[in-house]
Amino acid sequence: MEFRIAEKIKLSTQVSLILVLNVLSFNLTAQTPIDDERITFVRLTAEQYRNSIRDIFGDSIEITGNAIAAGVREAGLMAVGGRRLTLSSSEVESYEVLALDVASQVMSPSRRNTLIPCRPENENVFDGDCAREFISTVGFHLFRRSLSEYEIGSYSAMASKATESLGGFYIGLQAALVGMMVSPDFLFRIERSVPSQETPGIRRLDAWSRASRLSFFLWNTTPSPALLQAAQSGELMFEAGLDEQVQQMIASPRIEDGLRAFFSDMLAFDRFDTLDIDTTLYPKFTKNVEDEAREQTLRTIADHLLEQDVDYRDLFDSRKTFLTPALAALYGVPISIRQEMGGLVPWVPYEYPEDHIRLGLLGQATFLSLFSHPGASSPTLRGKAVREHLLCQTIPPPPGDVDFSLVRDTDNPEFRTARDRLTEHRNNPTCAGCHTLMDPIGLALEIFDASGVFRNMENGALIDTSGQWLGQEYSDVRELTLMLKKDPTLTSCLVQRAYNYGTAREPTPSEVQWLNSTHSQLRQEGVYWRELLQRISENPDFYTVPEAAPKEN
């Protein structure tokens, strides 16, 4: 599908939204309270916080650290877990310190001329008009909606009080900015909804909340000025207006930010935070290689799904990727380095030879290391990961009272390979049910050790990578990959995860129907990333939340 719609927004990441806003005017009338309005909220991720600050105040603002320490994966996604999380004391404490840091940079003499839309007559005295203008302008982007008169007045009073206490207009504005940046209106994506007239049990998001859901889904950041304007004018509540915004956003290069965020979540990149591959056993897997492996995966996905615009399924048997010298050494393949790259990590496109055993996402160090033990590969972890993260299947926890000791008894000459040991383990009928689902997939990947390095022997025995997938026999990972690629579960999982990621919740029964129908169509027409995003973003149900328990006052 061609996406050649001209971008109306030519917003470079170098240009802050504030600059754009200076030439816009906004209706800042108080929001009309609606009796049936209900709010739900989703915690911003650390990356969404950073992206929002970058887009609102510009690239030059330094953000030193993450306030959020950990998340929760639910229904396969951290994004869904974000809807059940709040902020702990230590996280709010860190956010307040971050806010002080960012606000002091915004107010610095070198930036205030571009980031503050007005000048006080006297820098030592409070200027109410200028404070209100700054607060309403910045608040519009931080809160992703227009502020009520009451809110503008409250933050203006905050600035006035601080000016009085500390003797400077800008230090007063800084205090108000800190207040806005620790407010739940900024730290959470607050979604306002009213009951659907057509569908009982469903609530429809208001225009501001639509803009936020769309923007964090597609670009992983705060809504652009154009999107907020479409929300403010009401265009976003109508099909034509929504479609126009969706198409513009999907055609933008910034769609890559959203793609990277989604696949980082779906492929469990949070495991990188605690990845601990033993470098005494795997000396090539240094911290740099770990970082480059992560980038290799994201770069490969972005190139395939956006630049090359090929089918999602091709990611699994593609021979094309990008390598650095360190990754090439890990994989044992030659690459030519362009010297003019200077100090930057020299990424080069690479295509594996036709008969090469390593191909697709499953052959990359990211997947192979994230689902290994620190000192050993794990067919079980890898098989479980394919089932859970790529096929959206659930493997129940292992039962109690199980003796696993054969699994790692590498000293036993009868059980030299993981296959020998796991086969013995699967003879236990309690274990067989789940291990039959996981182990064959992982055993095909046993030719790659915990760091992703190729091997064909384990403890002096040849590694057997054969197995069965849905009754069909395969001899190695290449044949398994082709079978996986044909499995409709692979693509239905992507469709489902993308939708759930955008809504940060599990689908309602009617949405499941829509997902099934959309998946069937895409399988026939091609599972193209932009097409999938467009269909999801233009689905009216995407902008809903299920009716929750009655509100309490």
Partner: protein, 446 residues
């Protein structure tokens, strides 16, 4: 890492002072001094008790940690011999279990969850309020940090505390970051002669107060599902507000307070790295208690599926418990036993850090109560029976020590309930279903 260096500038502070702005100072400080032996304030108020919880994963080698003698005068078995230096300030509980009541055993989670929250949930994603939060309410807001939570394995999700039902509290993983948090900006040495409230902190405090006032407006529109989440966020905001309020008051002098030094941190999962990180945290937390910075802490050695590793060993501790064969001659898993014993050694290092801080005739450990718990009785089999549980310290004489309590078949929640009773929580039961308990271990209550 949070950069705390860039804030309101000193220049702006001076400008405010020069201009004589109408800075409202905090309330007059209640001048309080310790009595002559350092165990109470001058007005007779005793130094308040502290509470700590300490998690070690994967239990201990079955049958090798319980003392033979019940009550006092017991001998420590070889497996827990490391505890000898603090034996007289310790209690050992054996025979305890967590009941699943027909729910799936969320391996390595349900046991610890049951002991900290009194509730075993159907899904591992659900987690209730932990009893340290109940104790926190009992203590009231009287320290700069409501609680401090740390993890020694580099995994912020390793902890077992929660303020409500909205997710577990994340842990700090960096000792240096904790050092900066406690002793960086805002720390006031309680023994320093001079004190002047910082006008910038006053402004920060008033900003947070104003944001907190938004609570009711939002609360009116949230569903009951989201209400507790929003409430917990505003509680967190109030904690920070309260922290700043503490920084605006002259603290009561505390002679035992001193600022520790810090060496280089090395975060990782090798046993030696975990020990080093744990030791740094033990030092920081004990000094934080002595300096009145907090009264509640949580330490976790590692996550539920312990990733601790021995040098040259490809399998982590969790994998070892399942995969290491039982030595037919020894009758146990040798490597697992070694790591379990090392964990006991770490526990002693924490307790000795507390015990090394003298407060009058007693020590910081004496006015503290540390609760040590684990996830399984026998990790190899994911057993929920015979969980090894310890308490240390007497919470200022509120708990007897030096006892081995055998409670064959009792719910392990009895220990948490006993601790709550010792620390003054007014309640007649704790836990749900079969883990609900109504009777504390009266033999340890003073």
């Amino acid at each position: 890492m949070i950069n705390k260096n860039r804030k309101f500038t000193r220049r702006s502070l001076l400008r405010g002072a020069i201009q004589g702005s109408t800075v409202v100072m905090g309330l007059p400080i209640l001048e309080s001094f310790l009595n002559s032996n350092g165990t109470a304030f001058a007005d007779g108020t005793e130094l308040p008790p502290c509470f700590g919880s300490w998690f070690f994963g994967l239990g201990l080698t079955p049958g090798r940690w319980q003392p033979e003698v019940i009550g006092s005068n017991y001998e420590l078995p070889e497996h827990v011999a490391a505890l000898q230096p603090i034996k007289e300030k310790l209690n050992i509980f054996s025979g305890l279990q967590i009941f699943l009541d027909g729910k799936v055993n969320q391996n390595h989670i349900s046991g610890a969850q049951g002991q900290m929250t009194g509730v075993v949930t159907r899904s591992a994603a659900d987690y209730d309020e932990s009893f340290d939060a109940v104790i926190d309410k009992q203590f009231g807001a009287n320290a700069r940090f409501r609680t401090l939570e740390v993890a020694c394995d580099g995994n912020a999700s390793s902890g077992w505390t929660a303020r409500g039902r909205n997710g577990k509290t994340p842990c700090q993983i960096s000792p240096l970051e904790l050092y900066r948090r406690i002793y960086g900006d805002g720390f006031i040495d309680p023994n320093q002669a001079d004190f002047a409230p910082n006008p910038e902190v006053m402004v920060r405090h008033s900003v947070l107060s104003a944001v907190t006032e938004q609570r009711q407006k939002l609360m009116n529109s949230v569903s009951s599902d989201d209400r507790s989440r929003l409430d917990e966020y505003f509680s967190s905001l109030r904690d920070v507000e309260q922290k700043l309020a503490f920084e605006l008051e002259r603290p009561a002098p505390l002679p035992a307070c001193s600022i520790p030094s810090m060496d280089v941190e090395e975060i990782g999962t090798m046993v030696a790295q975990v020990q080093h990180t744990h030791k740094q945290f033990a030092t920081l937390l004990s000094h934080a208690l002595a300096c009145g910075q907090t009264r509640i802490f949580h330490v976790t050695l590692g996550n539920a599926f312990s990733t601790l590793r021995l040098p040259g060993e490809p399998s982590a501790y969790h994998a070892l418990t399942h995969e290491e064969p039982i030595d037919p001659e020894l009758g146990y898993q040798p490597k697992c036993k070694v790591i379990g014993e090392q964990c006991m050694g770490f526990f002693v290092e924490l307790l000795q850090a507390l015990d090394s801080i003298q407060e009058g005739e007693g020590t910081l450990l004496d006015r503290s109560l540390v609760y040590a718990f684990t996830d399984h009785g026998e990790a190899r089999l994911h057993s929920m029976k015979n969980l090894p549980v310890f308490t240390a310290g007497s919470a200022g004489g509120r708990l007897k020590t030096g006892l081995h309590i055998s409670a064959e078949g009792d719910a392990a929640t009895r220990v948490g309930f006993t601790i709550q009773k010792a620390l003054g929580v007014v309640t007649n039961k704790w836990g749900v279903e079969s883990n609900e308990v109504t009777t504390p271990f009266s033999e340890v209550l003073a």
